[in-house]
């Protein structure tokens, strides 16, 4: 793996800690302190290796971005972490609980890449459904829903059926559903795809606010100008983590001026 040092992360220490044999206490401690801690995470479908032995160490309060082309394993990684896919091998912890999590499931939020909201319900009814599934007090829900509707700029459409909304609006509803229970860790799979530039700026401001409040955000994106805003960027290609670090560190290490060029440089190195 490349550029670990530039990310300011002691990957070797974590690897040793996870190496087994009498070090399980240290591993558990690390896993508890981190929002996400994964070691040799692997997912294989028949003869396709979707995720190939990746390690992750995401501290609480971090904004972590996964970038990479389609099929690089970003979504599969997130689905394993939120418990939707079984791990073929490896171990992962979210908020100190081994994946698949159950105790901490109310502490995480997940926005899938697809819309994954009910188009035959109104915006508010979608929010209410997820609020009820997280057993949120109905009185608290009202205030929470109003706040979120302002963030996604759909306060005036709250009683509209989702099927009547544009693609961008639906995407925003999907984001709000992932945040309705005020989770500590949020997994957002391409949250800004199809969202107009003005609103994207608003989204990133909101992500920054969440981070400010100590929330951990793990997102995937194709937009390099967005990835630059992350604390740490994980570059994935063909199921492998080819580089990881701060955007600035990655650009310095690759000797490039932007993340896109940095990605291509790392991809070339790994390929050669």
């Amino acid at each position: 793996m490349i550029a670990l040092e530039s990310a300011g992360m002691d990957r070797s220490a974590s690897t040793v800690a996870l190496g087994g044999g009498g070090r399980s206490v240290k591993r558990t401690l690390e896993a508890e302190n981190d929002a996400i801690h994964a070691h040799r995470l692997r997912k294989v479908y028949d003869d396709l290796v979707a995720v190939d032995d990746i390690d992750l160490k995401i501290a609480k309060g971090q904004l972590y971005g996964m970038i990479g082309p389609n099929g690089s394993g970003k979504t599969t990684t997130i689905k394993m972490l939120v418990g939707l896919l079984r791990l073929t091998s490896g171990k992962a912890y979210v908020l100190g609980e081994k994946v698949p999590i159950s105790q901490n499931i109310s502490r995480i939020g997940y926005m899938p890449q697809e819309m994954a909201i009910y188009t035959d319900l109104t915006v508010r009814e979608n929010l209410q459904l997820f609020s009820e599934l997280y057993s949120i007090d109905p009185k608290k829900f009202e205030g929470r829903a109003d706040d979120l509707l302002k963030v996604i700029d759909l306060a005036d459409r709250k009683d509209s059926l989702v099927s009547e909304l544009s693609g961008s609006m639906r995407h925003r509803v999907s984001l709000a559903c992932a945040l309705v229970h005020d989770p500590e860790v949020v997994f957002l799979d391409e949250p800004t795809v199809g969202v107009d530039p003005e609103l994207r700026v608003g989204f990133w401001k909101y992500f920054a606010d969440l981070k400010e409040k100590g929330k951990t955000i793990v997102l995937t994106t194709h937009y390099m100008d967005e990835a630059v805003r992350c604390d740490t960027v994980g570059m994935m290609r063909a199921g492998r983590m080819i580089a990881e670090g701060s955007p600035k560190g990655l650009m310095e290490e690759s000797g490039t001026a932007d993340l896109e060029s940095a990605f291509l440089t790392f991809a070339k190195k790994v390929g050669s």
Binding site: G83, L121, L129
Partner: protein, 375 residues
């Protein structure tokens, strides 16, 4: 399992329906249409059923019982006696006519009929028999002809005497029951089964293909709670439909409901829950709505044809009859008829209820396990 989450899923499904007026219209109008069409089609009075009478009775006219019965049969509008035959070869000829579908039935009195009736009435011999050669393709016709024969026999020899003819018990639906009375419980079960199965399989394929299921499973809601929430919502839809059918059946056709309506609705609810589970389970084998629809005939046709909705199980070919006992609708229809026509309480239909409950529990468990396994 947390009730609030089960209710959240159930409410979600009902809210979806609330916004989809076309589907709600379908849910209400479909059973109404079914009971109306079937009711008017099958509920009318049968007239002019063409029959042959073969009277071989050797008794003199003044003491012939057969002639009295025939006279009674001639006075009704139900039968149209096309021909009277009195020679032994007439039996074969009449049977041939039935076989060729030129007539519906041949009523045959044998040579010793009157003497047999006399002997039977003095307890000196077995009951005399009237041979009925009948085209059994239409249970209404069978019912009408046998009914007329019984009426004629009673009018001649009185209700106290031993009936000189045996009647298949599956055609006796209850005193004064009409075909619509026999039919309405079947339609109730069929409608509930069709709708819950269709709603369930389509909804779930939609949940899977739209990734909303993934999203649900990333929340604290469990697989069992999702399945239970769906069962509750669609079981409720089945109940509403049954209420529509019962109301229509009573108002339009004055259908007989002897037993407890609530018990009948319980049967429908359990059937609905079970079929919802079946739809849920089969949805995992369909990638989209188009594939899901392909399951409909696979499940619906055997249920419609073999479960006793339209004709008694005894009318199902012997080879296929064992299949009938693997179809949950068979038990629901039997249970509903027992409650609505025979007036039986839960004591009389516990077997059917247990089978339906077993089916529902098995389907729900398999559905929940199927959801876990996909991970």
């Amino acid at each position: 399992m947390r009730l609030n989450r089960v209710l959240a899923i159930a409410k979600k499904n009902l809210r979806s329906l609330k916004h989809d007026r076309r589907t709600v219209g379908f849910l209400v109008l479909m059973p109404l249409l079914m009971i109306t069409i079937f009711g008017y089609t099958f509920g009318g009075t049968i007239q002019n059923v063409s029959v042959y009478i073969v009277n071989l009775d050797q008794a003199p006219s003044n003491s012939s019982v057969s002639e009295k019965i025939i006279a009674s049969l001639e006075s009704t509008d139900t039968l149209h006696i096309v021909k009277m035959l009195t020679t032994p070869d007439g039996v074969g000829a009449a049977a041939e006519e039935v076989k060729d579908a030129h007539i519906w039935a041949a009523i045959v009195f044998n040579e010793t009929f009157s003497a047999d009736v006399l002997a039977a009435s003095r307890s000196l011999g077995p009951p005399a028999s009237i041979q009925l050669i009948i085209d059994g393709t239409n249970p209404n016709i069978v019912s009408a002809v046998t009914g007329e024969l019984q009426t004629a026999i009673r009018s001649v020899i009185g209700s106290g005497a031993a009936a000189p003819m045996s009647v298949a018990p599956d055609l006796v639906y209850g005193k004064d029951a009409r075909f619509i009375d026999f039919f309405a419980p079947g339609v109730m079960g069929l409608a509930a089964m069709m709708v819950t199965f269709m709603l369930s399989i389509i909804s779930f394929v939609h949940e899977r293909s739209g990734s909303t299921l993934d999203r649900l499973l990333s929340t604290p809601v469990t697989e069992g709670e999702i399945v239970a929430g769906y069962a509750l919502a669609f079981g409720f839809v089945g109940l509403i439909q049954s209420c529509v059918i019962i109301s229509a059946a009573i108002l339009l056709f004055n259908v007989m409901i002897v037993g407890n309506v609530l018990l009948a609705l319980l049967v429908v609810f359990v059937l609905g829950v079970g079929n919802q589970g079946l739809g849920f389970m089969l949805s995992s084998f369909a990638k989209n709505e188009f594939q899901a629809i392909q399951f409909l005939p696979l499940i619906l046709f055997p249920s419609i044809l073999l479960s006793g909705v339209f004709w008694p199980l005894e009318a199902v070919p012997t080879l296929l009859r064992p299949v009938s006992y693997f179809i949950p609708l068979t038990y629901a229809v039997e249970g509903l008829r027992s409650v609505m026509i025979r007036g039986w309480s839960i004591d009389g239909i516990w077997v059917q209820l247990v089978v339906l409950l077993g089916f529902a529990v098995a389907m729900l468990l398999l559905s929940a396990l199927g959801l876990k396994r996909r991970r």
